[in-house]
Symmetry: C2
Subunit: 453 residues, 2 copies
């Protein structure tokens, strides 16, 4: 059992050892760590130190480190090598999905140069075809390394094949059983292979129920399959049903996390996938669009309130409750949108029969609206806000909660039907709309019930 | 390859067949489906139909269906059985983690009654101890079913042991190697077991680097380990280092999804884990707390604005920009909180050295603040809002964006240090605070720059 987080003191210690020329000690200590931890460590040191350290790491582990390190650090690292060296020493030794992952960060020209320098032509052509698949599809997520066996083989032949292929495939969970045309017929788990009699035919012991996807299946659908059927690995077939690759659960965990983060960022009004380590101007750029949309909404609301300037002059107390009404509309709208967005994402909510769903939300809105308006009315009476204003504000609050809730339910469903990501409904765009809607309702009700009195 | 979503027509068809008494046909069609799909199907039919169908499903599959179905449907289903029957026919045949999952939904008394009715005393006592682990810890997530082998055994003895234990353990990824005191020493993958010579000693072929957790490890930390180290299964040890269970990746996918959803729901102002199928009053209850907090904030802001009643009477145009200022403060605050919350969740952001992080956010806020204020100033000049008010509004906007951004960065970090979930910083509580802060800044600046003029 080894360390699972990298102590900052260890980093300092290793850098110092390296500066003192004690390479053997650095080598021993580095190679005791997991590749992921070495990658974390290299992410924090200077590029030339990282390069020196990489040379000390065991070949196989250094390949993994390269895949795990941050894109910028890897870029720095590769800068010191020619395309030929990158192909021979690094890409050649990677699994195809890792190689594709690393290569997608190269400019097109360099990418092709590196691939053309690969000596293993079969691997090179696999990479070329993998790179052609659209992003976020099974083809772009899969690795071509897998163990397959012909349905006519015996169990012992199959085990022989595993021995032969074992070096290329890091983790084997199941053996794929294919027919003479390479079409996927089923699977056999290693467990069942061990339990079977060596002379048995695969045809008699394999499991023919196997979930597979096509190369064009969307990553979100793949994530749902892994989640629903508790999969660890999923075979990918082409249009002819031939086995072309496999997707492992670790790649899908990334997809699931990315999706959740995407919704979260949309909701918080951030347009790009940024994190704290990004440059100031990238962080600014990711946020500015939503701030500007909010600004536009604010300007619109200022124009709108201007229409009621005379009322405000006579009844400045109308202004007291403007932020309350606007904020409550935003809150109620986001709450119902968020539930719809999650329901759509988890496939627990269809967009058929929208009406009963809207009706259900209407009931929720009425309950919460009446409670909130009631509390507000009681407060206003207690603190001797005028009777007329108290009624106006409470009626407006109830209306705002009801309208915002219904809009909040309706809009993400419509977006989903229009094949637009419904999560944008929870972002500042809709919040801003709800702000405006709230004020419009408030002033209209105010004119009807109050200021004309 | 079978269907992977359940067609509503299939459901109707099966119900009709059942009513016509064609049980054999229903049996055949049901048993061709995956357990997860049968569970989905049973979730949509009436309880007595569900019970009839369950009786037609193969024993082993029906156990899986029971685990996969919705809690309410399972509850209905069990209602027709005695504790003894539930123990003998269902719980007894489940994996320990599934049994615990199902039992946690029982009232305490019934839970104990079911367990006391189990004939396999060893299994019953496993369940009792598993049920004692705190929720969201390794102990509560793990299953006790696993394959282990003594380090002194040979490879062929180990394979013999797999044969012996195979019936109890559904999916075997690795064999755990333990010493004479049952302490975890390492692992050997099935692949390496197949590749090794049968007469070799496990001690010579096993891998002694293995990541493990203790029974008390938090589920969030476990999810991070699976994610970082691309794990499929993780052994759990007790305080003595003895192997007591294993956690598989499918359970962790749930944890990862739940966590992401939790942050999302907190941000949207929903306090409980609800979805669309919940009852109206549960949906209301989950949202009401945040609406009431928002209401409180709104009332506070109304009291605050009241202080400026005279200014508003003379300058009602001050009111035009109140919603703009409040909304922009909320937006800017949520943006920076969300980035901090995600950074903390992904472990990419520590809470050491808060100052440089605040300083970085300050620069982002200044850039976006100047751009937004500039746009607003230009707009106001163009549309001949008075010069004084234009300056006031723009200065207030800049200040609000800067303050809200800094608060938005600072608060989640402080919450995290206080061991409170930082995600609540993105919820309505802080948005409301930012609304108030925005108005306070606006009126203060207004009094300084504008209304006194």
């Amino acid at each position: 059992m080894e360390k699972i987080t990298v102590d900052p003191n260890l980093i300092k210690h290793l850098v110092q050892l390296l500066e003192e020329g004690k390479e053997e000690e650095v080598r021993d200590q580095l190679n005791e760590l997991y590749a992921q931890d070495i990658a974390d460590l290299l992410d924090t040191v200077k590029p030339d130190i990282a390069r020196q350290m990489m040379k000390l790491i065991d070949k196989e582990k250094s390949i993994k480190v390269l895949v795990e390190m941050e894109d910028k650090v890897r870029e720095h690292f590769f800068a010191a090598y020619s395309s030929k060296e990158i192909a021979d020493e690094f890409i050649q030794n990677m699994d195809s999905d890792d190689a594709v992952y690393v290569l997608t960060h190269f400019p097109v020209k360099e990418k092709e140069e590196v691939i053309s320098n690969l000596t293993d032509i079969e691997f090179a052509s696999s990479l070329l075809s993998l790179l052609n698949y659209e992003e976020y599809t099974a083809g772009s997520l899969m690795a071509v390394e897998l163990v397959k066996a012909n349905i006519n083989w015996s169990v012992s032949q199959c085990i022989e094949e595993i021995r032969r292929q074992a070096e290329n495939v890091e983790s084997i969970y199941v053996v794929y059983v294919v027919d003479d045309y390479e079409r996927l017929s089923g699977i056999i788990t290693l467990k069942n292979l061990i339990l079977a009699t060596p002379s048995a035919k695969l045809a008699d012991v394999y499991n023919e129920t196997v979930i597979s996807v096509s190369t064009s299946t969307d990553s979100e659908e793949i994530a749902n399959l892994f989640d629903k059927y508790d999969l660890v690995v999923l075979p990918v077939v082409n249009a002819l049903g031939q086995l072309v690759g496999r997707i492992t659960v670790d790649d899908v965990v990334e997809v699931i996390k990315d999706e959740a983060n995407e919704d979260y960022q949309l909701m918080s009004g951030i347009t790009e996938d940024v994190d704290y380590s990004d440059k100031v101007w990238i962080l600014s750029r990711a946020r500015l669009p939503w701030l500007l949309i909010g600004l536009l909404g604010g300007i619109a609301s200022s124009r709108f309130i201007e229409l009621y300037e005379e009322e405000l002059r006579i009844h400045p107390e109308m202004a007291f409750f403007m932020p309350l009404i606007a904020a409550m509309g935003g809150n109620a709208g986001v709450q119902s949108s968020a539930i719809v967005v999650q329901g759509l994402a988890n496939n627990t909510l269809g967009t058929k029969n929208i009406l009963p769903k809207i009706f259900k939300e209407l009931r929720v809105a009425l309950i919460n609206g009446f409670i909130c308006s009631g509390v507000l009315f009681a407060y206003n009476l207690l603190f001797s806000t005028g009777y007329d204003l108290s009624i106006t504000v409470s009626v407006a609050l109830l209306s705002v909660i009801v309208f915002a809730t219904i809009l909040g339910t309706f809009i993400p469903m419509v977006l989903h039907k229009m094949k637009i990501d419904p999560a944008i409904a929870t972002g500042p765009f809709i919040t801003t709309t709800n702000d405006l809607l709230g004020l419009a309702l408030y002033f209209t009700i105010g004119r009807l019930l109050y200021t004309v009195i």
